[in-house]
Symmetry: C2
Subunit: 468 residues, 2 copies
């Protein structure tokens, strides 16, 4: 007995020493998000009931049970996540952010009237670089407030969009528009090409900004315009953003002119590939879906927009079944939504699929949360960088409060995110390790100034169109 | 000239004196909501850009331009509405409030599985009067937070729902359920009748509570059960709440068993009338719609629920065209929504109609705001009491902040309400002259206690069903 006791004593001393050594060897990190319900969206879709995330620089160094993470890492700062959900930041896969300044300018009209009677004249009279800057600031504020950390944009003066996105601390895949008529920024295709090449060069290697060419669509761009844009994307290893098969007329015209669907036409002219981000994909048949999957095209579903404009319903369950990466987008906040709240798109994607298929099992809560996170990352070809909480990925994460009547009780975490929680429940937002909103307070944007300026733009846009 | 000058002088003195007299004669009121953008929803759909609402007791005494109202009335209190929208409170025309405590308990399953595998067992094991009280408190908190001032409910222990609704200061049309199997409260039809008669008697003449019998549906109630409930409603001049033509099977079974649609069957058995509030009305053909309009039945559209359960799409534009009063509802917060945010239903009603009809003009922003206010009041047969801001109506009103990124700029007020503003933008809520939420703080509900209790119920419900 005596020897056993002595042995136990030695062991206790050894354990204490090694514990001390271990504790001294804790790695320093910048920040630990501590003690939340961590919804990782990793390959196993692990959910940690009492988890922590350690962050160093702009990346995640560890995700795991709180006790384990906090035994190994010492954070210079801590964010208390107890009683909250911790999720990868939401990914808004398709929008036109400067159009926030046209929010609600003539809804409830046909797309044709909206474009030709209202939006094109409004853009011709109002859109310049300054407009784009303020619109981007407003959109950044709105998106951060509802938990969006990355967005994919298509508009004009995209270099200014990039500067403002970076200033707001957001991650952006930002597409300069190619279109076969004079745009607010570039009047000719040659100017578009030259502007965009400069734009792509400028942002190469940037931690937050991925610059991209964005040929608008097959009905507004010639084959040459699209191919030029694609060649530029490939030269600079940039993504390529495009509206694809959004409108019935687009599909009908393609069948008539090319004898094939828009997707098949894009394949034929060499554009389908693992860099393409195709927004909408409503009119895509089985052969199209197979092709999109084979070519590793990313697709972005925009339920609010498709409903509001009455364009049609994308066959999302079939696309997922075919292996296509399908993300979610708000589309532009004018005429087709009219907000940038991706949590509404999560809810709507599920509900729209269910009613369309007349099947409540058509698309479930987990699937739509995937679309807003890891599948959204896949759709933007950024799944190595973002979309889940895993060591090595960018530290883009959000804390959602569960301290509201709509948040309790909670039986199923994915259902709560999809059907009960709101953008306004998002409490804290981190992008690339930088906290951009803390307890609902924006830290990178002068919100009162942005709201004031937006109201002024409201007046000047009205005046430019002869509205009261 | 001299006489004219003298005359003018006398007149000026007379005007000054009468002005002073007038100012001294200002009528005392309890409260003035001052200087907001007042969206009255009155017959002319007047919008006052700088308007005020004077309130005395539980009623509105005046609505008009600020200068006029404030020249005539002196408020003991003032609510500053500058820079905010002032609207009639939203009307949630169909829900099951105690089911908040089952929020998110098994979604994404068929209605049949949901009912028989999950909800009926969960109700049998958990629903009692205490459960219903806490569920009602939670639902009141959630509804007030998103601007709902009146709701129509169908559940069990409805007398307890009434007590809690009144305690929260909300207005309710509260239906005790009749169903042909033993319910959590009443085990036989005789007990249902006796309970409900007592319930109706107790609340007669109450300022906030309208008690009602609620035969569940034609597929769960015999002809006699429905007729008994209707007779009781008519005896006490109470409304009658019922699910009508929600499911395809309900319609098919009625055609088979009765040789006619559910609506025609209800006409035949003497139930259609100006006291009936019919939830859903999805499978209603032209003849049905004509009959609903002629009999002045109120209908309630529940877009989230219809999408989530995949029941079908109510022909709302056709119902409105036929002259039917169509309101909006969230339906229950378990399995079919899962929240009680009526602003989402406003947005969704428009978008669902557009995509269903493949017509962006199918249902516009103004129409859906009507459905949430004045038409919601008509659907509940309460249009003389609520639904618009007019002298003589109950002082049920909400202030919506415009101080958020999603709120600016504002080109069209109805579009902003329908498509951009959120439940979380609702700042202050008044019901019957009583402020129940001020600047997002609930004044009639102990919110932390309610959230805590809801979490406890979450645990006990899970345990009762053998869930982890």
């Amino acid at each position: 007995m005596r020897r056993v006791t002595r042995w136990a004593k030695w062991m206790a001393i050894a354990v204490a020493l090694s514990g001390a050594a271990f504790s001294q060897a804790k790695q320093d990190v910048d920040l630990i998000v501590s003690g939340g319900i961590v919804v990782t969206m990793d390959g196993a879709r692990a959910i940690l009931r009492d988890g922590s995330v350690a962050v160093k620089g702009d990346a995640i160094v560890s995700v795991g049970p709180r006790a384990e993470v906090e035994a190994r890492y010492k954070g210079a700062q801590t964010i208390d996540a107890r009683g909250r959900l911790v999720l990868p930041g939401f990914i808004n896969g398709h929008t036109h952010v400067p159009m926030t300044l046209f929010r609600g300018l003539h809804d409830d009209v046909t797309l044709n009237d909206w474009l030709y009677k209202y939006i094109f004249p409004a853009e011709a009279k109002n859109v310049n670089e300054e407009f784009v800057r303020w619109g981007t600031r407003l959109a950044a504020a709105e998106q951060i407030r509802s938990g969006v950390t990355t967005f994919a944009d298509m508009y004009y003066f995209e270099d200014a969009v990039a500067e403002e996105t970076k200033a707001a601390g957001m991650r952006g895949v930002l597409g300069e528009t190619f279109i076969d008529f004079p745009a607010p920024d570039n009047k000719t295709n040659a100017e578009m090409l030259s502007y965009t090449e400069k734009f792509l060069k400028r942002w190469q290697g940037d931690a937050l900004i991925h610059a991209a060419p964005a040929p608008h669509s097959i009905y507004t761009c010639s084959k040459k315009t699209i191919q030029d844009a694609a060649a530029l994307a490939r030269k600079y290893h940039a993504p390529l953003l495009m509206h694809v098969s959004e409108m019935k007329k687009e599909w009908e015209d393609s069948e008539k002119a090319n004898g094939m669907s828009p997707v098949q036409y894009l394949e034929k002219i060499g554009v389908l590939g693992p860099d393409l981000v195709a927004a909408h994909c409503i009119f895509v048949d089985e052969a199209d879906r197979k092709l999109l999957a084979e070519r590793q095209v990313g697709c972005v579903h925009n339920p609010s927009s498709n409903m509001m404009i009455a364009s049609g319903v994308s066959p999302v369950p079939e696309m997922r079944a075919a292996g296509v990466a399908v993300g979610l987008g708000t589309d532009g906040p004018a005429g087709s939504n009219n907000d940038l709240d991706l949590m509404e798109e999560i809810d709507l994607a599920a509900k729209l699929a269910k009613i369309t298929k007349m099947d409540p099992l058509a698309l479930n809560a987990k699937a739509v949360v995937e679309m807003a996170t890891i599948d959204g990352a896949r759709a933007l070809h950024m799944e190595k960088e973002i979309g889940s909480l895993e060591a090595g990925k960018k530290a883009d994460l959000i804390l959602i409060s569960l301290d509201a009547p709509n948040a309790v009780p909670m039986y199923d975490i994915y259902a709560q995110i999809a059907y009960s929680l709101k953008g306004s429940d998002v409490e804290t937002v981190m992008i690339g390790g930088r906290v951009v909103m803390r307890e609902r307070k924006l830290l990178t944007i002068d919100e009162p100034a942005v709201l004031e300026k937006a109201r002024e733009y409201g007046k000047s846009v009205k005046a430019s169109l002869g509205m009261e």
